[in-house]
Amino acid sequence: MSKSNGNEISRRDFLKGGVLGGTAGIMSAVTGGPAKAQSSISGKKLAMVIDLRRCVGCGACMIACKNENNVQENVAWASRISRTVGRFPYPKYEYMPTLCNHCEKAPCVKGCPTGAMHKADGDITMHSPGKCIGCRYCITNCPYGVIHFNEEGKHRFWSNDKPLIENGTASAREVTQKARGRVLPYYNPARELSNPGTGIRRKGIVEKCTFCDHRLIKGELPYCVEACPTDARIFGDLNDPNSEVNQILSKFNSRRLKEDLGTEPKVFYVREFNQGSYEKTKGMV
């Protein structure tokens, strides 16, 4: 049992305990709680809330994602939109972490000619690498630009000629040659759990965020959620009325990207990255 799960249960215990009393709380902890977390994620509608007020824009989610999923340079499953808006003297910096929205009505799933892109347990939008023909129709279909095409072989880094530090270190290619090509790139075998063959990502097909489903089936949170130092990313089941995501969504106005397209994204944004404040005023003509 991971640490995060322990937290989840204790939080649920606390809430239920308040309403139903201690016995019910223990009951849920014994029957529902841990059993559910350990079993599969089917029947759930997994979603993420990103609290922009909590977010400090550190980019830990992006790095964590790359680390966990072997994502190379020029690709970012977990990304961000950052920009400076407004006019001097009152400019405003905005930062918005982005990732696959795992839309309920995902256009990429609808458009995929081979069913490689599909809705999996937990209402996650998943991609079967073995079925993908690399036509990239999903990329054009995605209103959020979060599907990526892997046109490079695995881990281009190891054939790179450029030294990490100019005149200081060897280049990655030299290292590989010294080891007679036996250098194994870093790769996370855990990814094999949910979708065999994705441990090392393949060339010639598309790829995208999986909500770290290899962790979900073990009852662990997506790694970007785990890594977020300010708990700005909150993960949970929309079908469960008591889940943290539902509690937060009931408290704040939430928005999703391009809601008018009817894709029903499951990544919700609450509050403002740069909330600021102002003196009480009625303005002037």
């Binding site: 340079e73 950052s82 458009g111």
Partner: protein
């Protein structure tokens, strides 16, 4: 320079281009799409544009052929087979283009094995298959009477056949196939337009006019290619050829005007509506970095100049001018296809602008890589070879056809029926 030397120069150029192009194709197969310049933001480039170009040429040519085989327009009878041959050749070229555009070309069969009925693209594959079957069977029945006397191999495997004229039964089969072929061909290219039209993520494509625009410009390109080939490469005797070319050129020009009109409607609606997501790709189209593909290639070279030639008082009679105008239209449609594919993707803002793609160096600035150009060249040279051999080996310009109703035919049909 004599004709012979010129031919030799052209042939050696073709050989050189073929070698370079095939080498580029081999390189692309060996190394994969890393050789291409498209990105995850702009995933469809030159190859996909040429794919819809050739599929359009194919469907347009087929629909032209139905003028002969369904609607019985006798005037076009001599070029009917050429139109069908064009349809087949361009379809093959188009499919090669989409094949090399796939990240995993060796898995193309998965579109059939793992057929996903919710996908327009998957339905499109079914249309392509039906279309290939119809084309092959129709061509086989049409060419068979002329083909058998030519080929010793066919004489050995096929039962003997005295007549070189189609029997009434064969004629009705051709007619039925061509009739079935009309909705299938419309499905083939209207459906290709539908692939784009259903993409709600790109407002530029997301319009009901798109399948229509695809079909109309397909007719334009198919007609232009047929006019060009008839004007310069046909063995039909001069006066009759002139008649056909003039008529085809006028037909093509009329459809081209319709094409421009539909485009005009779309541009006006979009610019008048002034929705940023929608106008941005049009701004890129009309005044972006590739403004010249629209104004010079599509409008000036591909529409205005050829229209002036085709309807001009001095030029509308001359075969060479009309053939040249047709070539211009034919090339202009390449611009049409590029303009469909590229600007829509260049304006992929996703709410965040380029900021959403901080990890890519030049996310929306697409220019085809050398390999993209050279492999396209290779596929085009394959098309030229195909045309050359097809014209040599197949009876594409026989005088016999659907319209033939002389006494001799009746006798012959009597014999074959027995």
């Amino acid at each position: 320079m004599s004709g012979k030397t010129r031919n030799w120069i052209l042939l050696s150029l073709l050989v050189v281009f073929t070698i370079i192009g095939v080498a580029a194709l081999v390189e692309r197969m060996a190394q994969g799409l890393i050789l291409a310049n498209f990105t995850s933001v702009l995933p469809w480039g030159l190859w996909l544009s040429l794919y819809i170009y050739f599929i359009g040429l194919s469907a347009g040519s087929f629909l032209l052929s139905t003028l002969v085989y369904v609607f019985g327009v006798k005037r076009y009878e001599p070029v009917g087979r050429m139109a069908l041959f064009q349809a087949l050749g361009c379809l093959i070229l188009g499919l090669i283009f989409i094949l090399i555009d796939l990240g995993r070309p060796e898995r193309f069969f998965r579109t059939i094995v793992n057929w996903a009925p919710s996908s327009v693209l998957a339905w499109e594959i079914m249309f392509y298959l039906a279309y290939i079957v119809i084309l092959l069977v129709e061509m086989w029945i049409l060419l068979r009477p002329d083909l058998i006397p030519r080929s010793k191999l066919l004489q050995r495997i096929h039962r003997p056949r005295r007549s070189t004229i189609l029997t009434p039964k064969e004629k009705s089969i051709v007619r039925i196939l061509a009739i079935i072929g009309i909705p299938v061909a419309i499905g083939v290219h209207g459906g290709t337009g539908m692939i784009f039209a259903v993409v709600k993520a790109r407002p530029f494509w997301h319009t009901g006019l798109f399948p229509l625009i695809f079909l109309i410009s397909a007719m334009v390109s198919g007609g232009a290619l047929l006019t060009f080939l008839t004007a310069f490469f046909s063995k039909i005797e001069q006066s009759r050829r002139g008649q056909i070319v003039r008529s085809l050129a006028k037909l093509t020009a009329t459809v081209l005007i319709l094409d421009i009109f539909v485009l005009f409607i779309e541009v006006v609606v979009v610019l008048y509506g002034d929705i940023p997501d929608h106008t941005h790709p049009y701004n890129l189209l009309l005044a972006g970095p590739y403004w010249w593909v629209f104004w010079i290639v599509q409008i000036l070279g591909g529409s205005v100049v050829p229209l002036v030639i085709i309807f001009g008082r001095r030029t509308s009679d001359k075969l060479v001018w009309l053939g040249g105008a047709a070539l211009l239209i034919f090339l202009g449609v390449i611009g049409v296809r590029l303009n469909i594919v590229i600007p829509a993707q260049q304006s992929a803002w996703f709410g965040g602008g380029p900021a959403a793609y901080h990890f890519l160096k030049n996310p929306t600035g697409y220019f085809p890589s050398s390999n993209e150009w050279l492999s396209s060249l290779g596929i085009l040279t394959l098309g030229v070879w195909g045309f050359w051999f097809g014209r040599k080996m197949l009876p594409l310009e026989s005088e016999h056809g659907m319209a033939e109703t002389d006494v001799e035919e009746k006798d012959n049909t009597h014999e074959t029926d027995n």
